[in-house]
Symmetry: C2
Subunit: 240 residues, 2 copies
């Protein structure tokens, strides 16, 4: 059975202007891979209502799971929650359990749960809360879309809570070999090998280090014996 | 007049598996921003023919410019060129000027222009070559799509050649203020300010440093006087 598929939607002008370097994509990719879920597409859109709604609808329809990152804070440019709700035509309003989580968090800090902070308790009807152990403001799951924070420490904490609830496929095994020859030299035999192992994904990633050309060859697949066999052939074809 | 828009398409299994951290998105975002072109969407797809073709078609139709990164090397998993050609229903074949560039590059290195390397001279009919000053294998421009390498040093070099040919809009000016208060405290006045300056983009980016919560407030816009006026108000509202 093929592994479940996932997509990610990163929301934020700051990524697209280059001011901020996204860190959540690589973390999510690694975590999903080791959980046997295939991250198949990522989109980055700006803080724009239409862009968010359309991307959520497209990705939700195309993949088993969707993870969003960003836009769920208290300020005017945080518009993810209402537009995910809109994508599924659901009302959104302040929910008691979310408000209670925020209230006790701010009480502990001696801060007021003001109108802006209360925006973070707005949850679409029928959603399930995602725990935020760091700053209390929850994420949520609606349909197959996990709506999570953009701040990396909070994104990671939310994901750590969500992952055990997902059914992964067989973990994808990966082995690699570094070859200090140009890709053009190894491409022929490598293509032949890839053709003989159609169930494996064999990738070649070129690098240049201190003026020397090389490639990292990565063999990935679910069948450990096949991965081992392909690696043995690779080692014979490209001896160190 | 609104600034031209752009999208980026990153192609590569290695990004989606988490093995490689994409570096080209942030570089492109910064370069386009300073050139007055609005990077509006980014997609990352795997080395999959259908995924590449559909993404190229969707992004090419929606934005003024599209930049792709990755998948134009000599190995079997480099399938970007033929699928961009397919997206526009154009034949693709080895082109003389591309072959000549590769031939003289490999001659200088005493390497053979073998069948695998020759794949990098396949160019869709009617495309314009994009110079690769590092490893000779050219990128190309077809319709409004700039097809470029995934290796960051080569991507950057190709982009440096392409950017001067693009007509940018007015550069987007940006100023920022760091406020050492939680976002929930500043959200109210910040939202009011944003409403009074509809032509500016005012973003709030929370951080947590040594246990202190704060936010970087970024004011962006094309009218320097407006940006200055908003920043002056910000400084009065949130004195250091």
């Amino acid at each position: 059975m093929p592994n479940p598929t996932a997509a990610m939607l990163v929301i934020g002008d700051e990524i697209l202007s280059g001011r901020t370097r996204d860190a959540n994509m690589n973390h999510l990719a690694k975590e999903l891979t080791s959980h046997g879920i295939a991250l198949t597409e990522v989109r980055v859109v700006s803080d724009d209502a239409e862009a968010i709604t359309k991307a959520v609808q497209a990705l939700s329809a195309a993949y088993d799971h969707v993870f969003t990152s960003g836009g769920i804070g208290p300020t005017h440019d945080d518009i993810t929650a209402e537009n995910v709700a809109r994508a599924f035509d659901r009302p959104i309003s302040v929910r008691d359990d979310a408000r209670a989580a925020l209230q006790s968090h701010y009480d502990r800090q001696g801060l007021e749960l003001n109108e802006a902070r209360l925006r973070m308790a707005r949850i679409p009807d029928g959603a399930t809360l995602i725990d935020n152990p760091i700053s209390a403001a929850p994420g949520f799951l609606i349909e197959n879309v996990y709506v999570m924070a953009g701040v990396p420490s909070i994104f990671n904490a939310m994901l750590a809570g969500v992952l055990p609830t997902l059914t992964g496929g067989a973990p994808v095994l990966s082995q690699s070999l570094q070859v200090f020859r140009g890709e053009g030299d190894i491409a022929g035999p490598l293509g032949d090998l890839a053709a003989r192992y159609p169930d494996l994904s064999i990738g070649s990633y070129p690098f240049q280090r201190d003026g020397v050309f090389g490639a990292q060859i990565v063999v990935r697949g679910q069948d450990g014996a096949q991965v081992d066999a392909a690696m043995a052939e690779l080692n014979r074809t490209f001896p160190a």
